[in-house]
């Protein structure tokens, strides 16, 4: 799929470009707010959902490899919808189902497939980070191993011999891979 013209907003987030980030809010926040409020979301929660969605996109695109293949608004809308639904599952919030979607009739139908693909990627990566977060010592080993410094130095910092550190690191990565693969949500995301 070709790169969409809205890639400029991805670049703006990566470069902390205040002017274009302001434009993101100016163009997309009012509709998103109206949509979320119509679904029973509070103003405060709507702000959190919108900002968290932008941060998710920032993390997804951080290696500068991400290519946006749909309108930014379609991606943002779907991400906000998913985040809001997840929020309602964790709290006592209920989703109002008769809200208006009129504000988004300008988004073409074919944009939704691209947006769904991007959102699935965000959720897959979040799942990896969530699993990693629960891995105790392995988390430390994996995170340190990815720092841009000599591996021998990292082994020393962790109080391990270099040989043991290498073995431990690859075992931890293997464990992470298996844990992620066995998560039902992961199977849903890749199916």
């Amino acid at each position: 799929m070709p790169l969409h013209a809205d890639q400029k907003y991805i670049t703006a987030l990566l470069h902390h470009d205040q002017r274009l980030i302001s434009e993101i809010y100016q163009r997309f926040a009012p509709n998103m707010k109206a949509y979320l409020l119509s679904r029973g979301c509070s103003e405060d929660d709507a702000g959190d959902v919108f900002q968290e969605a932008l941060i998710d996109i920032y993390k997804l695109a951080n290696d500068k490899q991400f290519v946006l293949t749909c309108p930014f608004e379609a991606f943002l809308l779907l991400l906000c919808k998913r985040k809001f639904i997840n929020k309602t599952k964790k709290t006592s919030l209920t989703v109002v189902t008769n809200g208006e979607e009129d504000a988004y009739t300008h988004i073409p139908d074919d944009a939704n497939a691209g947006a769904a693909e991007h959102v699935a990627q965000v959720e897959k990566e979040q799942l990896v980070m969530l699993v990693l977060d629960e891995m105790g010592n392995c988390k430390e080993v994996i995170l340190k191993s990815l720092l841009k410094k000599p591996q021998e130095e990292i082994a020393e910092e962790l109080g391990m011999t270099y040989a043991y550190y290498r073995k431990r690191k690859s075992n931890c990565m293997g464990e992470l891979a298996e844990l992620v693969r066995n998560k039902p949500q992961f199977k849903e995301l890749v199916s």
């Binding site: 902390h16 980030i21 302001s22 809010y25 100016q26 009012p30 405060d44 702000g47 891979a177 992620v180």
Partner: protein, 238 residues
């Protein structure tokens, strides 16, 4: 042959001997499970590395996002009082208003507030913009104006720099320099456009350009934080 995650790690890091690498790749071509394991290992490496890197620069991004989210979404929470307390408060407020009406003049055009410039704190590196923002937020307006002007000569156009430079110039009574900046912002599409109407009006008011001051003051919408100040300008011009 069975390969472990240690072997996969060594393969991806280019640490196998030529012969070992050849054997590994031969197995990789026919073994679907090994292919999945290598792909997963590679993907996890890049995902975790990417997220870890993003976390390091996230505070800088939040400095930009927080005020915008607040501006577009958040509403100050209303306080709930009992009826009795509300009545006392209303009575007290009415008395204060009466005293102020008798003893003091109305809102002054110069009695305005503004937000701190975002982006003043940058972890690790201190950019020129962050330094200028720090000077502004510390109320060192003359120094901030110089720093913003320097940024304008070297950097790309930035509405935030123009807006805070304008306020720095107003604070140091350089109204003639401030006015064109606010006029451009007021006629532009940045988030500062609405507020710039008031500051353009204020600059023109101090330069005794009454028509222009009135024209910009009238553009300030009811509900704007500067609406009262704009009204005060119009009142003073009558």
């Amino acid at each position: 042959m069975t390969y472990t995650y240690s072997d996969i790690d060594a393969y991806l890091n280019g640490e196998l001997t030529a012969e070992e690498q050849q054997q590994f790749e031969q197995e990789l071509r026919s073994n679907q499970q090994l292919q999945e394991q290598v792909n997963a290992y590679r993907l996890l490496n890049s995902t975790v590395g990417k997220h870890q890197q993003a976390e390091q620069t996230l505070p800088q991004l939040k400095q930009i996002l927080d005020p915008l989210t607040h501006q577009y979404f958040k509403k100050e929470k209303a306080k709930v009082f009992t009826m009795k307390r509300t009545m006392y408060m209303l009575a007290a407020a009415a008395s204060i208003v009466l005293i102020l009406l008798v003893a003091l003049p109305g809102t002054s055009p110069d009695d305005y507030s503004f937000d701190d410039m975002p982006g003043a704190i940058v972890r690790g590196t201190e950019t020129d913009k962050a330094k200028a923002a720090q000077l502004f937020n510390n109320k060192q307006y003359a120094e901030a104006a110089k720093a913003f002007q320097q940024l304008k000569t070297t950097g790309t156009p930035d509405a935030a720099v123009d807006f805070y430079l304008g306020i720095s110039l107003l604070k140091t009574e350089q109204y003639a320099e401030a006015l064109p900046l606010f006029e451009i912002l007021a006629n532009g599409t940045s988030v500062y456009a609405e507020d710039a109407n008031f500051f353009a009006a204020l600059s023109a008011y101090h330069l005794q350009q009454s028509e222009k001051a009135k024209q910009y003051a009238e553009k300030v919408k009811e509900g704007s934080r500067y609406w009262k100040n704009a009204k005060a300008i119009i009142k003073k011009l009558k």
